[in-house]
Symmetry: C2
Subunit: 357 residues, 2 copies
């Protein structure tokens, strides 16, 4: 029989670099700290924290962010208890952040359940989101070692996302399947086939598990990560920063998807019904800000003459455009961006260059 | 017989608004105050003032500019004597500025000769320029009432310039013709015909005349301008500002080309051999800054990936461009500009809009 599981904690991953939203997103204030869409002017981070409302009180919400962003997090989330902000000395992708979250949660009780979600996505329907989490919790009740993912029904042959192929239904839980296979960023033809076949879901990057379940998987697939959890868990949180400074940079830099989920058994998929967007690039903006009659999405001061199907975002001075089509035009702290919408995925090449070699 | 003419004064017209160079050019610091090309980092105004070297000493160089730009002129031309800066309370195009120059010159001597030139053109060959002025002075010696223009041999069917059709040679002066007809901004087919026929020259906007000659023409064609010269000429310069504030705004706003030269007889054309560019729009930049191997002209910080045939100018933050062709991309105090090179002439529509309705 399954052991009784502990309370739910929510870990919000805010360590992303947001380079595809250069020049609005910069190393000093990446994407998750910007009000890019939804949430009536709130930043993506603030929206993510609010999404945990009703799932976990503030003292069970954990925020993982880069060390240089501590002040931004505190300014944007004044309600976050000081000990609930874990600062990563360097970025080690989602597996590293999740290891920290596991250690933090293990300090608090015996076998907590942990919901993990990115800080930089848009989920316009928090009620639908919480409903899906409830389905996930039912999976954990029936299958304590399950690693639960949330699969969003694809609406277009997106090549920038990860896909999960659904297998057999999870017994006793409606709206959930076991995962059969992960495919990260398929080519166009594959993405179109996935869309047609109807048995594939977008990997939302949101996960739910019991501490015991994820630790078992880490021990098998990412032993260095499991070892760090073991080092941190018995130590008082006051001693963590020094320990992290020494140990965290040694972790392999890998996502939890590549490092664990693609290899683990017992991976379940909640068939999510909530609207979701990872805002992966500037070209995603028209999905959260409907275009005007000329097909333009305009945020901030702009003067457009004979301009169509453009995404125009200014954080300051006006953007004047004349006689152009299908471009992304952005003015922000990092500089100025000009590129075709269909190449918005490549913007990080400019962000890197602009920051120096 | 011709009366003996007085000394040569040089009037530099710096009242332009430079709207086609938005957003680098702004109402606060228009085109002529920027280092847009040539002159080893000097501004166009500084280059124009230097062009008068050897033609007139500083106390015979006169600068006409908008009142709001007094500080900029003094900063860029510290050698200019204080009384040689005439400030226009409002812009009244070149005819208004030239009337002021006439009044100023008439304070100094009986029948001065006056060379008038715009502050915002590029003339990379000052020696050739002075040679052409010498030809013009010979025309005035022989024909005291002549209005001398400087015609540049066209090298392309430019539709943004004014053209002068040459008529019969000026007797006794080699390299000069009488003007037959002015055509402002011809359509493409006409400009191509002008180029083919070889009897047309670009109107450089540079003029030379004796005070008596231009006053006679003003009296006939622009009597309000002549009347202002008559009001100002007998009055001490200290009293001018008050008089100008009251009278100058009442002048019709008209260029000397439309107002006088197209109608006057005795208009001569010096067949200029100096290189000249009016830098009429961003698309002119490759003529003064040769493009790189990708056809790009780049000034200031930029990061370009798969970019060709673009004009990229930043006065501050980096411009990151990816996958675009044939665009003008500018970052400056007024904002950000994006438009195709071939529509650079229309940029003033954005400048106006960006400044408000």
């Amino acid at each position: 029989v399954a052991a009784a599981a502990g309370a739910l904690s929510v870990a919000i991953l805010a360590g992303g670099r947001g380079e595809r939203f250069w020049p609005l997103s910069t190393p000093e204030a990446p994407k998750q700290f910007l009000a890019l869409g939804g949430g009536e002017g709130r930043t993506l981070l603030q929206q993510a924290a609010a999404r945990a409302e009703g799932l976990a009180p503030w003292d069970r919400r954990l925020l993982l962010a880069g060390r240089v962003h501590a002040a931004l997090v505190r300014a944007q989330l004044p309600e976050l208890p000081p000990h609930n902000l874990l600062l990563e000395p360097v970025g080690r992708d989602t597996a590293g952040a999740i290891a920290l979250a596991c250690a933090w949660a293990s300090l608090r009780e015996r076998d907590p359940r942990l919901l993990v979600m990115p800080a930089d996505h848009v989920v316009p329907d928090p009620t639908g989101f919480r409903h899906a989490v409830a389905v996930g919790l039912r999976i954990l009740d029936a299958h304590p070692s399950a690693l639960v993912t949330f699969g969003v029904a694809p609406t277009r042959p997106e090549t920038g996302y990860g896909y999960i192929e659904m297998g057999s239904p999870v017994p006793g839980v409606s709206g959930a399947s076991w995962a059969r296979r992960f495919t990260e960023k398929p080519d166009r033809a594959t993405a179109e086939r996935f869309l047609r076949e109807g048995t594939y879901r977008w990997n939302s990057g949101i996960f739910l598990w019991r501490l015991g379940g994820i630790l078992q998987a880490l021990r098998r697939h990412l032993p260095a990560h499991a070892a760090l959890v073991d080092r941190l868990a018995p130590v008082d949180a006051a001693a963590w920063p020094a320990l992290l400074a020494a140990e965290f940079p040694r972790l392999p830099k890998i996502s939890i998807d590549y490092g664990v989920l693609e290899k683990a058994s017992d991976v379940a998929v909640v068939l999510a019904t909530f609207a979701w967007d990872d805002l992966g690039a500037w070209s995603a903006l028209p999905r959260v800000h409907p275009p005007d009659g000329h097909g333009n999405v305009v945020r901030g001061p702009a003067r457009l003459v004979d301009v169509e199907d453009c995404i125009v975002v200014s954080a300051g001075r006006p953007i004047g455009a004349l006689g152009v089509r299908g471009l992304v035009l952005v003015e922000g702290p990092g500089g100025v961006l000009v590129c075709p919408r269909e190449r918005a995925q490549e913007v990080r090449r400019l962000a890197e260059g602009a920051e120096g070699p």
